[in-house]
Amino acid sequence: MSRWLRAVLVVAIASLVVVLALAFRRAPTDIRTGTVGKPAAAFTLEKLDGPGTWSSEQAKGKVVVVNFFASWCIPCKEENPALVRVYERYRASDVVFIGVLYQDSRDSGLKYVRDNGVAWPTVIDDAGRVAFSYGVFGIPETFFIGPDGVIVGRHIGPIDETTLVRGIECLRVPNAGDCPRASASR
């Protein structure tokens, strides 16, 4: 075998090993940013907890927290107490909380909202278009949108109080430092 071919062989095997070793850095449940950093898609959806519709225009210029949930989703139930607490904390302020029911029926969603004390406005995304435009991978997923309408961060999986508060504070006090761009629980 020529010297050249020998060298190629060594380099190929070495690169293979390096690539495989580097792959350990990344957790398999990695974060794909997708829509983070882009303007949030505008939407108008039917309200879950009453007649009429809710439009994202209503939240224009404000800090918005969008939470995708469903009644069949157990981690959603787990994260709900944290959402309730943080919502109470910011109720008086102009931070907008909106819950989007995802792949669920109206009745089940309504029951969930009532049983779990979901006090913020909720809408139903029955065709999944809004979830698609936000790039939802699976629920629960929470998005943080700044007053300029850009998605600043997202959290995949059940969210805890600390992450929620930090996300909101980052938006209310711009450039505050370590703001989550994309994160996941686990």
């Binding site: 278009r129 698609f132 435009s133």
Partner: protein
């Protein structure tokens, strides 16, 4: 002799006819056809990745998310969007990860060259093995004979019990 010649002739004719028929069949099956909208949706969804599955395409997955995505693609096809526009919409939401094979005209599209490169390299190595047959066998020299004998002895010592001398 003439019988055999005729036999050869008809065999050759059959061979040629068969090859022609084969070419026709392949050509017929490869004829360009316009895609129906449903086929177009199938094709596009087979190239998009279902976001809640382990590597399945949007077309193959029976999940609800995939069904909703198929609806989106069907709607866009009905609206007259191009393949690239539809794929771009998915990529805007989910990143490049959602496309199941990188496009040809990109850096990551180099992966399409891999099979071709592998075949070429392999063919190169293989053809290097082709050597013209030895131009007449020649008597081995005494040194070569001794070498061969030594080699035979070493190979056969493998058959002897381990501690034989």
């Amino acid at each position: 002799m003439i019988e055999r010649a005729r036999g050869w002739k008809s065999a050759r004719v059959a061979l040629v006819l068969a090859l022609v028929a084969l070419a026709l069949a392949v050509g017929w099956s490869a004829r360009p056809r316009t895609e129906t909208p449903a086929e177009r949706v199938d094709r596009i969804t087979s190239e998009l990745r279902c976001v809640v599955c382990q590597g399945l395409s949007v077309r193959d997955s029976p999940s609800e998310s995939a069904r909703q995505m198929r609806d989106i693609v069907a709607q866009r096809v009905a609206e007259g969007r191009s393949d690239d526009e539809i794929r771009d919409e998915f990529r805007a939401s989910y990143g490049d990860w959602v496309v199941l094979a990188p496009p040809l005209a990109s850096w990551s599209g180099l992966v399409w060259l891999v099979p071709l490169a592998a075949l070429l390299v392999g063919a190169f190595v293989a053809l290097g093995r082709f050597r013209p047959p030895a131009a007449g066998a020649r008597e081995p020299s005494a040194a070569e004979l001794a070498q061969l004998r030594e080699r035979a002895r070493r190979e056969e010592s493998l058959d002897l019990p381990l501690d034989a001398r």
